[in-house]
Amino acid sequence: MASMDTSGGDSGHKKGPGVKKAKKLSTRVDMTPMVDLGFLLITFFIFTTTMSTPNTTRLIMPKDEKDPEKQTEVKQSGALTILMAKDNNLYYYEGQMEGDGSNFKSSTYKEIRDVIQKKKTDVMQLGRGLGYHPDSLDRDLVVVIKPNSDATYKNTVDILDEMAINNIQRFALIDITDTENQAIALTEQKGGGK
């Protein structure tokens, strides 16, 4: 059967004039509609589903403390203030801002990690000198985060994330002051924003 001749060639047996040949049907199925269907379903799934499940970052804010006696005091040596401004510009200063703005520096979101890490090492060094417990050498370190009204939500979350990355235990999200806003405006005018 397998070698049944369908070509009607000269070899093989001759059949009588009334004998009809059984037509050999191809077992091949046209797969094209199936491919169409497959890709249609793929497109459907791509558009209606999401790949990654979003994460949640926990944020715990401090209580409003009206009583100045109970307010947390920040040691000058352990304070790092990060200011966020428009166009992803970033400024920081350590301790208190000098009147002449000499310690007011600009930075970027990439470089700020080094600044935080350096500050953390410095403060831990100081803490060692003061005889703090080895587990809480960085307890004087407080990062003050001050986004101005041109900073975006992404900027804020990025910096909060930076706190998590560098394992900063104490940080605060505080409103920016007018002096700091002026300092930012001055630096931007000078073109030192970058």
Binding site: V35, T48, T53, T56, K154, V157, D161, I165, N167
Partner: protein, 224 residues
């Protein structure tokens, strides 16, 4: 000249491997993805290194988009809690004297999202829920002078007493800080100090303190 016979080739291609690939990809997408929940506004969230996954649970979801419009959604998992939704909107209705009818209040049970100033709610609720998406809603005001989110949250605290409600904040990358601040202020005024920010996952940069913590296996416990 002898004529060269070009053998006639079939234009048929064997589609079987193509089908295999197509269905393989299909199977992958079906297993690896999740259906998108319907969203009243499009938000691209920032990324964070946080490792805790977003759980499906009862929550108050505060969303704000790039233009700073704030929406409040009451997410309740169980159908039985619909009474609480009604109770919640009823409370706001009474407190702010919105003058919504019983039927209009029921619409909140279906949609469970608020995205308009209180004085415009009457107009929104007068229309069928299906049309709400098409209406340009202004968002809940969160500025210092008129922080209406604060009132909504106050009502929610009263309604959902004794229930475990998480507060989640989902903000757009390009939203300006003041709208986030307005949300925080509203939460602070209601003495809610713990909340979760919904973000997209991102890897921890190697060499940092958190990276070392995670490597030592302590970081996970510290966060959870």
């Amino acid at each position: 000249m002898p004529s060269v016979k070009i053998p006639r080739k079939s234009t048929d291609t064997d589609m079987t491997p193509f089908v295999d690939v197509a269905f393989l990809i299909l199977a992958f997408f079906m297993l690896a993805t999740k259906f998108k929940p319907p969203e009243p506004l499009t938000i691209t969230t920032p990324t964070s290194v946080s490792s805790s996954k977003l759980k499906e649970q009862d929550a108050l979801l505060i969303q704000f988009d790039s233009s700073g419009k704030v929406y409040l959604t009451v997410n309740l998992q169980k159908k039985e809690d619909n009474a609480l939704r009604l109770d919640f909107i009823q409370r706001v209705n009474n407190e702010a004297k919105l003058g919504l009818s019983e039927g209009e209040l029921q619409k909140f049970v279906t949609s469970s999202t608020i995205g308009s100033p209180l004085n415009e709610l009457k107009g929104i609720f007068a229309r069928p829920v299906g049309e709400w998406e098409k209406i340009k809603q202004k968002g809940i005001p969160v500025d210092t002078a008129n922080n209406e989110l604060q009132r909504w949250l106050a009502a929610s605290i009263q309604t959902f007493q004794g229930k475990k409600m998480d507060v989640m904040i989902k903000g757009d990358n390009n939203a300006k800080y003041p709208s986030f601040k307005g949300v925080i202020e509203a939460l602070r005024a209601n003495e809610i100090f713990k909340y979760k920010l919904i973000t997209d996952p991102k890897g921890v940069p190697p060499g940092t303190d958190l990276y070392k913590l995670r490597q030592s296996g302590k970081g996970m416990q510290a966060e959870s």
